[in-house]
Each structure stands twice: as C-alpha cells, then as structure tokens.
Amino acid sequence: MSEPASDYDLLVAWRQGDPGAANALTSRHYASIRRFFDLKVTHLAEDLTQQTFLAAVEGVDRYRAEAGFRAYLFGIARNQLLRTLRKQGRHEQAMRFASAAAPSVATPLSLVAARREEQQVLLMALAQLPTDLQIVVELYYWEGMSSAGIGAVLETNPSTITTRLARARQLVQQHVAEMTRPGRVRDSLLTDLEGWQRSLGPLTAQANARR
C-alpha cells in the first residue's frame, strides 16, 4: 500500500490541474473550513469555503511547511473572513436598516448541534466572542491545534494565543451566565466548560459531513 499523498502534494497536483487531487484535498478539509465559517458568517459559509480552497491553490508558493498545511489553510480562511467582515462592517448600518428578511436557522450547525441545551447555549456564547477569540477557541477545541499552529494562523506568537484562550474562556463563561437562568444547564456548563467545548468539535464536523 502506498502512503496517502500529503496535503502539500495534493495542493501542488491541484495547481497543476489534477482534479483528483482537488477532490481529495477538499474532502479532507472541507468540513473543518466550512464550520469555521458557519458560526461567523452563516449565509456566506459555502462561498467562503470554496474561495478559501481556491486561494490556497493559487497561493501555493507561499506555503510554509513548518507551520503545517492546516495552519496555512486556516490562515487563508481567516483572511477571507476578515475581509468579508470588513465589508459587512462598512455596510452594517445599511444592512440593519435595509431588511427585515426572515432569517433561516437551517444551518448545518443548527440541525445537529442543538442536541443538548448546553451545546446550543455554548454555540450562542461562542458566536458572541470577538472574531479572533472565536477562532482561537475553535482551532484549539474543535481542531485540536497547538498554540504554535494557532499562532501561525493568527500571525502571532504562541504565548499570545495562550492569553487569548484564557480571555475567551472568561468571556464564554460570562455570556453563558447572561444567557441562562440559574439551574441545571448553567451549572453543567460552568462546571465543565472545556468538556462541552470539546464536545462541539465532533458534532459540528458531523453536521457538515451530512451535507
């Protein structure tokens, strides 16, 4: 049996026009990139996921092996996200006043991740975090990435990531307290916040795998 091709090899093959490589690479990482966007810009998640892969192919020359392929991919995803949020920010006022369109909750996350009240509340709390803190939490708990890897995505050093992670935990606790009433759900979440955070990883991956 031959070793499966590395992400980088697939990326290069894709760049050279190999559709099989494109399929293989997107199959490996689609769910992760998709959920990265789902919680932040739900309605644009599909488009941004595609754009991220295309940008990864186009920018293959900038790939740095030491940071790892996922850091490279999430770094691109983050840039796509920030660019989108900047655009939205410029139009925030217009968007708010322009539409009372009925929103949808038929996101992959909403279909699966609300199995437990704790998970539902936690997703809502995460969505309240500033973008970079949200990214830190997701990459750490859902993707299992190291501080160094996350630092590469956010273009900062690992110690900063550790600090941000602590800050994110604190804010999530605060949001959970604001969103819940005293009782079982709040107690359960605050007692084992890390465990609940990790529980969302497989769930959100499963949500996208169903698509």
Partner: protein
C-alpha cells in the same frame, strides 16, 4: 428567487391541477416542507370559493412523522375559530398526498408591507392595530381548551412578520400554525430549534421549555419592527442572533426612532424581558396595554386606516376569483371524483423557460399535467385511486406509455363551456403568459393532440402588462416572505 434552482417542482403543480375538491390556480409559496397554493373550490348551485391550499411536499409525504405534524397543524388550526386567525376549513388526501385548505387572505404579509415601505416604520395606528390583532389571535390560541375542557397550552412558536397577513380590507390574520405545539408536549431534546432565528424567545433559543410567554416575546419583536422598521435582533449570523436574543440584547427603540414614545418603549421592554416572569402574563394583557397606550396618546386603532394604508402601498390588486374564467371547463360538482390536471398548458414551463429544454420541462410537469382521464371514465372513482401512478415520481419513467394510454386528455373538458367573464388586466402575468407560451411543452407531455387544443388555449387573449419580476408578482398575495423558495 431561488426556487428556480429547485428542480422540476420549482414551479409547483400546474394551473388546473385537482386536489380533492380543489383546483389549483397558482402557487403562492414553497417552504422546506410544504407548498401553498391559491385554489378554487366549487360546490352545488354555483357555490364557489377561493381558498389557500397547503400541500406536503412530495418527498415528505412518505415521512410519517412529518405527516403527523402536518395533520396536527391542520387539526389545531381548524379548531381555532377567531377573526384574527386564518381558518383551516378542510383537510384532505388526494393520491396519497395530504393537504389542507384554509381561508385565503387577499393581502400581503407584514414582512412585505414593511419591505414595501422601504422598512420605514408603519403609521403608529396601523402598527398597533396589527399587533393588537395578532395578540388577540394568540390569546385565543393560548386559551384554547382540549376535548376534556382543560387548556391545551398551545404555543404558536413562529410568530414573525411573515406569518402575519394583512388583508387589503384591513383585516389582520395570524397564519401558519406549522410548529404550534401544546406546551406540555414540547420536547427540547429532538435536536431541532424550530422557528426563525430572529423571532425566537430566549428560552426557545436555549432549547428550554416554553409556554405562551414565548409567543409574547416574539410578538414584542414584531411590535418593535412594525414601529421602528428595523430588526430588533440583528447579527451577521444566526447563532449571534440567537445569542443576542438569549441576552435580550437589542437597541432601544428611541435610538432608532428618536421621538419614539417612551410608554410604548416600556411595553416593548416588558414584552422583550429575558425572564418570562417579567413579561406580560398573557397576550391579552399586552393587547390591553397597547389599547391603553393608544387611548392615552390619541392613536386611533382602525381597520379602515389599515385598509387605506394597504391601498396606498399596494393599490387594489385583483382577487384570484378573477382567474376563475380559466377554469371554465372544469366540472362544478364537488362530488365529482378528483381528476388529474387536464391538458391545460402549465405555468411551470414558462417559469422554467430558459432553464431547461422543452423535453426537460415535459418531464418536470409530468406528474400532474399528465394524462387527464376522461371524466366519464373516472366518474365514481375513488379519490385515492385516480391517476395515482401519474403523480408519483416513477411516472416520469412511464411517461410515454401513459401518454399512449390516454391520448385525448383535452377531450375531458367541454370546450369553452364558460369563457372568462372578467378580463384580467394584470394578475399573474407570468402565469398567464405561461398558459399560452408554454403550451408546446405541456402539450408534448400530456396530449400529443394538436388538433384538439385545450379550451384554455382558445381563450381570448388578455391584455398583458410588461413582464414583471417574480418579486413584483409575489408581493401581491403571498402568504410567505420572498425569502422562501417559491
């Protein structure tokens, strides 16, 4: 609209399709689970009525759980008799497909009304008349008793602008009890957060147990939006919206509308309390507060004013009964067996023109526009039995055979028994164009009989307006927001 991407059923069932005692005129909207049509019911002695007909989408018709939910909606809504609730009048099954008929509200939903005004706040009297009407409807539902005389604890769970219909006459109707649930049976562990993200209550967002006060929160959101013209809870993504709702984090109305009445802001603040215990205990209490506010501040609550506002916004659109001339050839007796659509040209091909070839269109419309069975052949037949094969997806593959079996579907319809008595200047221009413009595709599918065109193809041509966009057309009578796929 995104519906064109929905495949063969994007245009819905063709004009003239029979479902039970009803003849479909056109599709108003399609959601993820059901379609809504405007339909025509005929009875003895010239009785006829326009209704809205809701039909389970075919792919869900085989899902017993969904069908149970759908029928439960119909039963609950049928039991609610209130002037501010769109009545469900009938429930039926045709060829294995479930549907129910309800009062047709000739008007627009509140979302369309707000959009039409470029999201400017409604005149205060109109906004309070609407919200007061919905509050009355909700209170009636909340107080509804079961057969044992005890309250059922019904909760609508989807109170939002798109589910509030404003008739051109000024009447206000709450619709869509699709996810209404008796509070006692509400499950929070099924993995589905139902409702629209921007119109849930904090407890609904959390997946917590809910009661009537959840609807009061949602009605508070509707009141906010009707009186400010903007979303109470807005964020770039759904979970951020839910999070804001869970914290009851909204911009105070006076920051949106500088001269917003403080007393009204207080009513909103109470309705939008994070803690249900701090909200109005009943929808009636909210309604009374609104009426007191209106009285004190000299705001007139008037259906007439609302009707005038609607007329100023939308003009006087033709009622669907003006479509009835097109149904000239259909049998009037309600006891007649249900017949599949005559070989009338479908509206679907017109809607899909440019998206598919004539052949593809023929397949797309096959299940309903296929072989009409001669009336005499089916007289006395059971509802269930008629044309069942033709209505199933497998019928597509069988198309050629069935066509040969029934070569003269147009003959089922007496030619030009009744010509349209009302000239229709503008209603449904896409659809009406479809009646002629799409005739080729449909005829290929269903008749192959060039010598005997459908009576509808012989109708005198109507005056036509320039092409209108789906949104423009939709704005006229839809029960659902344009955001829904049609």
């Amino acid at each position: 609209m995104g519906s064109e991407a929905n495949g063969p059923s994007a245009g819905g069932l063709p004009f003239g399709t029979r479902m039970g005692r009803y003849t479909l005129l056109r599709r108003l909207a399609v959601g993820g689970m059901a379609e809504l049509y405007v339909a025509h019911q005929v009875g003895i002695e010239g009785f006829e009525k326009i209704v809205a007909l809701k039909r389970v989408l075919p792919h869900l018709g085989q899902d017993p759980q969904f069908v149970r939910m759908f029928l439960a909606e119909a039963r609950i809504a049928a039991a609610l008799d209130h002037p501010n609730i769109a009545h469900v009048t009938d429930i039926g099954e045709s060829d294995g497909e479930y549907f129910f008929a309800m009062e047709y509200v000739h008007g627009a939903n509140l979302l369309e009304v707000l959009r039409h005004g470029s999201n400017a706040p409604l005149p205060l009297g109109c906004a309070l008349t609407i919200v007061g009407g919905v509050a009355a409807a909700l209170h009636h539902a909340h107080e509804h008793l079961g057969a044992d005389g005890r309250p059922l604890g019904l909760v609508h769970r989807d109170v939002s602008p798109s589910n509030v219909m404003i008739a051109h006459s000024g009447a206000v109707k709450l619709t869509d009890f699709g996810i209404v649930r008796a509070a006692a049976r509400t499950s929070t562990t099924q993995g589905h957060t139902k409702g629209k993200a921007g119109y849930m209550s904090p407890e609904q967002c959390r997946g917590d147990r809910i009661d009537r006060r959840s609807d009061i929160f949602a009605l508070g959101i509707v009141l906010y939006e009707a009186t400010t013209g903007v979303r109470a809870f807005y964020a770039p993504n759904d979970y951020a919206i839910l999070g804001r709702i869970a914290k009851a984090d909204y911009i105070p109305p006076h920051e949106v509308v500088p001269d917003y009445p403080p007393a009204l802001a207080q009513i909103i603040a109470r309705a939008l309390s994070k803690d249900p215990d701090h909200r109005h205990p009943t929808a009636e209490a909210l309604q009374l507060e609104l009426e007191d506010f209106a009285h004190v501040h000299g705001v007139r609550l008037s259906g007439v004013d609302l009707a005038r506002h609607m007329k100023a916004a939308f003009g006087s659109p033709a009622h669907p009964h003006t479509d009835l001339g097109s149904l000239s050839a259909l049998p009037p007796e309600p006891s007649r067996p249900i017949v599949t659509a005559p070989a009338a040209p479908s509206r679907l091909p017109w809607m899909l023109a440019g998206f598919a070839s004539a052949t593809a269109l023929a397949v797309a419309v096959w299940p309903r526009s296929g072989p009409a069975i001669p009336r005499e052949d089916v007289a006395g037949a059971e509802v269930r039995g008629q044309a069942s094969d033709a209505s199933r997806p497998t019928a597509v593959a069988r198309e050629p055979q069935v066509v040969h079996e029934s070569p003269e579907p147009a003959s089922t319809v007496p030619p030009a028994a009744v010509e349209p008595s009302v000239d229709i200047p503008e209603a449904d221009s896409p659809d009406h164009r479809g009646e002629t413009g799409s005739s080729t595709a449909t005829t290929e599918t269903a008749t192959n009989d060039e010598s005997r065109p459908s009576p509808r193809t012989r109708r005198p041509s109507r005056r036509r307006k320039p092409a209108r966009t789906p949104d423009e057309d939709y704005d006229r009578n839809s029960l659902y927001p344009p955001g829904m796929k049609r």
